[in-house]
């Protein structure tokens, strides 16, 4: 059974056709990397897969709940990192500890979200995905702003997710270590 299936999907934004006839299926443990120049519709594809954007044609099916990390952090700026993550963890009925640990954020647990740096915010949004327990991860430029140690942690996080039977759709122009991943070239 596939966790995500796109069937001849087309996407139109602002009256412009970004892509059409795009088909993709992700089964357990599989990953796909979306590549292409700026403005070609990588983020739109991610949002389409998340069900946040309606496709102009074709079919989008998800076999499980999805977790999304894009450029919007979705954490309350005033709360401490741990409590901000805990808000989502409570909705997901999971715990925040392992995700924060995996992204190396444990020492920042009590720091307010608004004080975090760009790279730390990126880590926090990946920790939110890691905490979600969702089997399908949708990551939009996950490596942006991460230092080399952060990228290593991200790679390890993704590897663990796939080993657990999770699937992944990522858009990135920075190299990610994704073994035998599908490549989706948008042009």
């Amino acid at each position: 059974m596939s966790l995500l299936r796109l069937d001849r999907v087309a996407c139109v934004r602002g009256g412009r056709l970004l892509f059409e006839n795009l088909s993709l299926a992700l089964a357990e443990g599989e990953a796909a990397l979306v590549a292409g120049p700026n403005g070609v519709g990588k983020s739109s594809l991610i949002r389409l897969a998340a069900g946040l954007l309606r496709q102009a044609a074709g079919k989008v099916e998800r076999g499980c709940p999805a977790a999304l990390a894009d450029d919007m952090l979705a954490l309350d700026e005033r709360l401490s990192l741990e409590r901000a993550l805990a808000f989502w963890a409570r909705l997901d009925r999971t715990r925040v500890g392992p995700g924060m640990e995996a992204m190396g954020l444990s020492h920042l647990a009590s720091v307010p979200v608004r004080m975090l740096s760009t790279g730390q915010r990126k880590r926090a949004s990946l920790a939110r995905v890691a905490c979600s327990g969702a089997m399908l991860w949708l990551l939009d430029e996950p490596a942006n702003g991460l230092d080399s140690e952060g990228v290593e942690r991200l790679d390890a996080l993704i590897a663990a997710h796939r080993a657990r039977g999770g699937a992944l759709l990522a858009a990135s122009h920075l190299p990610l270590r994704l073994e035998d991943a599908h490549r989706v070239e948008l042009a």
Binding site: A50, A67, E77, R78
Partner: protein, 213 residues
Amino acid sequence: MRALIWRELRMAAAGGSFLLPLIFFLLVASLFPFAVGPDAPLLARTGGGAMWMAALLAAVLPVDRLVEQDRAQGVLDQLALRDVGEEFVALAKLAGHWLSFGPPLMLAALPASALLGLPREALLRLELGLLAGTPGLAALTLIVAALTAGLRGTGALAGLLMLPVAVPILIFGAGLAADGNEGGALKLLAALSLFLVAVAPFAAGAAIRAARQ
């Protein structure tokens, strides 16, 4: 649902939303006699109307952050991913917004009525009217906040959109406070408020969904 309402209240508290309408309301009540003059019977007659104007404006105060903040930070997207319906989110926001300004205003009406020298029966009618009418004002604010989320410079636009629609609430509310329950003003006010509260989650939910496309 409880987690969402609680989050709304927490954000309202952090944004000063509990205190701000209260101070605003009291400020109007203390400035009004300066504008109208120290004529006690006139103040007692018009004070209820002034209180309603203040309540209306206090309800609009957070219109620019009520929905836009969560949209810009991606919170609405994350909720949608977790299959929390937009109508449900809107309902939580409605409850949170009302709780953050309705009860505080009703409390502030006590010292305000003393400042304006409102008779006791008028104060009772004002409180009753606020109880019935403020949920409607909260609903209107929510609809306008959802419609204008994602646009720039929404403050003025939101006022233009909302204030004319709020006129009926104002008429029945101020009428109830000034002249008593003539012609069933309280029932009409409550009916209007109920209608807005019933419509708001669906209207705001649809607006949130539409803003995403």
